[in-house]
Symmetry: C2
Subunit: 296 residues, 2 copies
């Protein structure tokens, strides 16, 4: 079983005809499965999340992007969400059975395809061609309006496509990121400082786990505080290890864990280590799960 | 998503032509997925495990059974495994999205189908029509050789089909059982008595959990003992609750858990409570798992 997921962001959240045409382009041939869609009139942006066989996802993404640059004119785009192109950002996420290197090859195939069609393309995250291009925030800084000047700087020459500003399409950012696990732990205290100290203890920024981002938050409606985390590589920094570190740090302050949240979609593989760790089934494999036999 | 599993046992483990024909009957139309197959010459028995949409599994099971009773003659059957019919025992197992009552209706549809084709049928486990018919061991006691006399007793009148012994087909047992989780916990001691005491503490038989069967075993190759368990209803007696009970009992003897084993296929739903219990994600649902979107 090989599954690639794509989360394509386009700069159109108002015109239903355009959104519908792009959606149709993705689903043409019925080879990928749409698992989430949202559009926002204020952001003037739509996000399509779909998955399937990697080759099918790549083909669907090409159809989507070709249709979107045909129909969207960035010279007339206004919206509150940061953006720099008609097809703004397209992360590929290897969910199962796909190596990061394979996903990067797919992102670059897609990037060349769009470059050849006259769209300047930047690679980000695991597909980045330089350290300063890894973060979407840095690439997109200044947004569409600053792009013409930005592209003249040597460090912002596009990775694919024309080197000059293309007013109609703007620029496209594509790349690969690991599936992210959003994991929040709620604590039986109203003392935000406790959550902040634990966040510091577990996050990479302050010496914690390499693949953990964390902040402390107040949960006003619950009379609790929360350690809100993103686990950006659950195979190398697994959920149980983070959970137990949070629990141990909380115990220093005499604070108990009240509960936790796994927010949004979770890759099946992220649960493998939960079973291995807590049930001590050292060789447990998600391949043992009956339903896995029915996956394509 | 609705998944029914069937584990059909036929009394032929030697004649490849017969086994192949039965296998073809199951897979005709390619509507179910075979996930396991084994046959044994000494037992003279084959077991087909397949799953899919409940209606497809029922149809495949009818094709299988019709073909097997056509080809297998019990008057000439010899084998070391207990048996009483050409199609010996056919449990339906509701894996996901299927209520036990629905699975029982399917087992009875199958039973009537075979009854009409001249095969005496007994319902067992969750499809049993009387308490003394719940256990396969009781129904099959005396095996094929005792069946003619057994069927004359009022308490062993078949549930479907002819009331007289049918030498060629023998009788068929079908019914419904919950997916079983085989869970073994290994202990850092060679003292079998510790494993036996823990088995007694957690199993139904001696006052433990309602849906746990357990025995103590010696693991000679590992210098350890094991509490070997079958969890026969993981939704009502979830894995983590059993694990923690075993751990607590072991601690009474100063013995630690060295590891554990989940043997064979595990239903996805059995992991839901593992995440909820240990990560304290009280509202975790297996519907959050990305791959679930790709299931039929």
């Amino acid at each position: 079983m090989r599954i690639l997921l794509c989360e394509a962001n386009i700069s159109e959240g108002r015109d239903e005809a355009v959104i519908g045409a792009v959606r149709e382009a993705i689903l043409a041939g019925n080879t990928v499965k749409m698992i989430d869609f949202n559009s926002d009139q204020d952001h003037n942006r739509a996000v399509f999340t779909y998955l399937g066989d990697p080759e099918a996802v790549l083909a669907a993404t090409k159809r989507l992007a070709a249709k979107a640059v045909e129909l969207i004119d960035m010279t007339r785009h206004h919206g509150s969400h940061p953006r720099m192109g008609a097809v703004d950002v397209v992360p590929f996420v290897p969910v199962a059975g796909v190596e990061t290197s394979e996903a990067v090859a797919m992102a670059k195939d897609f990037g060349r395809f769009m470059g050849e069609r006259g769209v300047p393309v930047y690679y980000y995250e695991d597909a980045a061609t330089a350290p300063h291009r890894k973060s979407l925030v840095d690439i997109r800084k200044g947004e569409y309006e600053a792009l013409e000047e930005k592209m003249k700087q040597p460090e912002w020459v596009p990775d694919e496509g024309p080197r000059e500003f293309v007013p109609r399409s703007g620029a496209l950012v594509t790349g690969v990121r690991f599936p992210l696990v959003a994991f929040n732990v709620n604590l039986r205290t109203t003392d935000l400082e406790v959550a902040n100290q634990i966040a510091k203890a577990v996050r990479f920024l302050n010496g914690g786990f390499r693949f953990v981002r964390a902040i402390g938050l107040r949960l006003a409606d619950k009379d609790m505080v929360q350690v809100s985390m993103n686990l950006i590589n659950f195979t190398k920094t697994p959920i149980p290890r983070v959970m137990e570190a949070v629990r141990a740090e909380a115990a220093r302050y005499g604070v108990a864990v009240a509960g936790a949240e796994l927010v949004g979609p979770v890759p099946l593989l992220a649960l493998e280590e939960v079973v291995r760790h807590y049930l001590q089934v050292h060789d447990f494999s998600v391949d043992q799960i009956i339903e896995k036999n029915l996956l394509p």
